[in-house]
């Protein structure tokens, strides 16, 4: 993991240096005089050899310094920090939707193989992968906001409702904790459409994986044994089959999180969700490279940490696995 993270920083640094424009000119603004730009270039050390620039970048990174955003003129890290909870709340909800929904759908499809549910789950899986999430979001907005007026179409909370006291930054959790029911209702309503839209692709993948691994496990001898000792089918599936069949779901959860994190960039744009994805999209138009690269490195770090958790969780899921 450590060498990979070094690689991540090298790649991020290389991309940032790909910029055809002049970073000093960008940071100084279009009206700055040549002299100012030159002085800034010297100050930023842009004339130094790449290797020295890289080691400087790395040492800043280790101190938690991702640079200063050109657009907001604030440290990128604190910009990302304020937007992280929104993205985290959205991604976590989508992960739960796709995980729980996918497991239920996949298990039902496998247990009732070739039934209506099985065919239905196949259609959902095909649609979930083929339909672009950003388009689905727009269509859901048209139906549930513009036509039916059932769900809000943008933001995290109603315009005239103050956000709950900051504890974790997750509105649902914070308002629940403070007992603020108005804020809770509003933030839940705001969460529904973006989270469902974001989760559909992952839900499709999870349900397919669960279906095929349940089918693998269900014909094993120990399942027959469990049945023949008179356990009810529900118990057999829940306690004996699923425990083993869900290991592939855990394995793919790192990949799923990466896909969801990428998806937030699109979904936050559609639903004006004030998270890191929307921040990075706005940064692109300002050619704000410190912000873009900061988010990119952070995303890679999050995926790596998730994969580490996945590896550790095997120990609890499968007693045969032990890390010496």
């Amino acid at each position: 993991m450590i060498p990979t993270l070094f690689g991540v920083t090298i790649l991020a640094f290389l991309i940032a240096n790909l910029i055809p424009g002049d970073p000093a000119r960008l940071q100084a603004g279009p009206n700055a005089s040549r002299e100012v730009v030159e002085r800034l270039r010297e100050k930023l050390g842009l004339d130094d050899p790449l290797l020295i620039q890289y080691s400087r970048y790395l040492s800043h990174l280790f101190q938690g310094d991702l640079g200063t955003s050109i657009r907001t003129r604030r440290p990128v890290l604190s910009d990302l920090k304020t937007r992280f909870p929104a993205t985290f709340e959205l991604t976590l909800t989508a992960l739960l939707f796709s995980g729980i929904g996918g497991i239920i759908l996949g298990t039902l499809a496998a247990v009732k193989q070739d039934s209506l549910i099985d065919h239905g789950s196949r259609v959902v899986a095909l649609a979930g992968v083929a339909v672009p999430s950003f388009w689905l979001g727009i269509i859901l907005q048209l139906i549930f906001f513009f036509k039916l007026r059932l769900l809000p179409s943008s933001g995290r909370i109603g315009q005239f409702i103050s956000s709950p006291t900051h504890i974790s930054g997750l509105y649902v959790f914070d308002s629940l904790f403070a007992g603020n029911w108005t804020a809770l209702g509003s933030s839940l309503l705001h969460l529904v459409m973006p989270a469902v839209t974001l989760s559909l692709g992952a839900l499709a993948l999870v349900s397919r994986t669960v279906r095929s691994s349940v089918l693998d496990v269900i014909s094993l001898d120990y399942v027959q044994t469990a049945r023949s000792k008179g356990l009810r089918e529900r118990i057999v599936i829940r306690k004996h089959v699923l425990r083993n069949a869900l290991i592939p779901v855990v394995t793919m959860s790192g990949m799923t999180l990466a896909a969801l994190l990428g998806g937030t960039v699109l979904i936050e744009t559609v639903f004006t969700w004030p998270g890191m994805g929307l921040y990075v999209v706005n940064s692109i138009f300002a050619l704000d490279f410190p912000a873009i690269m900061g988010f990119t490195v952070l995303a890679a770090l999050i995926v790596q940490i998730m994969n580490l958790f996945v590896d550790i969780s095997y120990v609890f899921l499968d007693p045969r696995i032990r890390y010496g």
């Binding site: 990979t4 991540v8 790909l18 095909l126 992968v129 672009p132 727009i138 048209l142 994190l261």
Partner: protein, 280 residues
């Protein structure tokens, strides 16, 4: 080099979902090639007196905010979408296979270097890394396609290397070696042809993902720029007009879903033929 036996192929073709996939892809290829004959209007022709016209005989899928014909734009967009998908997957396929073959066949420090690089690329969410590269290159469809090719190859390298490692030890490769075949000949005549089928499956399934991601980049604004009739770019502009003209963002999205569905069905069909585990 025969990827699948004819008999299996015939069996696979009787599978309705696979047939639907083939039909969808052929239909889109047909639309792309014959776009000038099928489109009823010039996709870029502005007609401000006919803005937001609903569906009619004259404008089959209505018109947009500049009076351009949505039907003709969707048809021409097929070209851009297919070109983008084929280019991304093509580059990833070639680069990824070469690097994977080098890593798997020769091993040593080259393998370590290549596979470490693969790990680095794969630790980014694909869309986010592509976004960063495309942003650095500047917004255009070609830059988005380049950015996605940069992001896409590692999957092929990993798959090819794994395949080669498992084929390399086969008896027939040993036999070839014993007969004095050069390593290049061994690789191209004996090892690679026996690894190719999973790579073809991946490439087919990938066409859909590549097309979706390219459209996503255009939607965000780092890909195709207006007035290009690229579907993601059309969606990006069209979503602001959804209450006045629902047809404007709706049809590019349907086209996108159908083309991706086509490639996924075909890829699933290929996989079922080649991997009996998935055949139930």
């Amino acid at each position: 080099m025969q990827i699948i036996e004819l008999k299996t192929l015939r069996k696979g073709l009787r599978n309705p979902p696979t047939l639907l996939g083939i039909f969808l892809i052929l239909a889109f290829v047909f639309l792309a090639v014959l776009a000038p004959f099928i489109a009823t209007h010039d996709p870029l022709a502005i007609d401000v007196f006919n803005r937001f016209q609903p569906l009619s005989k004259r404008h089959l899928l209505g018109t947009d905010e500049l009076g351009r014909d949505v039907f003709s734009r969707v048809i021409y967009g097929t070209r851009l979408t297919l070109q983008a998908g084929v280019t991304i997957v093509g580059i990833a396929f070639v680069v990824g296979t070469i690097l994977g073959a080098i890593a798997g066949f020769w091993g040593g420090w080259t393998e370590t270097l290549i596979m470490r690089t693969v790990d680095v690329f794969m630790s980014f969410p694909a869309l986010i890394l592509a976004l960063a590269v495309a942003a650095a290159l500047g917004p255009s469809l070609i830059h988005a396609v380049i950015a996605l090719s940069v992001v896409w190859w590692p999957w092929y390298t990993r798959l090819v290397r794994g395949q080669i490692l498992s084929v390399k030890e086969s008896v027939y490769v040993e036999a070839g070696k014993a007969l004095g075949a050069s390593s290049v000949r061994l690789l191209f005549r004996h090892v690679l042809p026996n690894c190719i089928s999973p790579i073809v499956v991946l490439a087919t399934l990938d066409m859909g993902y590549a097309i979706l991601t390219a459209a996503g980049l255009s939607f965000i604004g780092v890909g195709a720029q207006p007035p290009s009739p690229e579907w993601g770019a059309m969606l990006s502009t069209g979503r602001s007009y959804i209450t006045t003209a629902w047809w404007y963002p709706t049809f590019p999205g349907i086209a996108l879903s159908l083309i991706v569905l086509g490639f996924n069905l075909l890829g699933d069909g290929f996989r079922d033929l080649l991997d009996p585990r998935w055949r139930r």
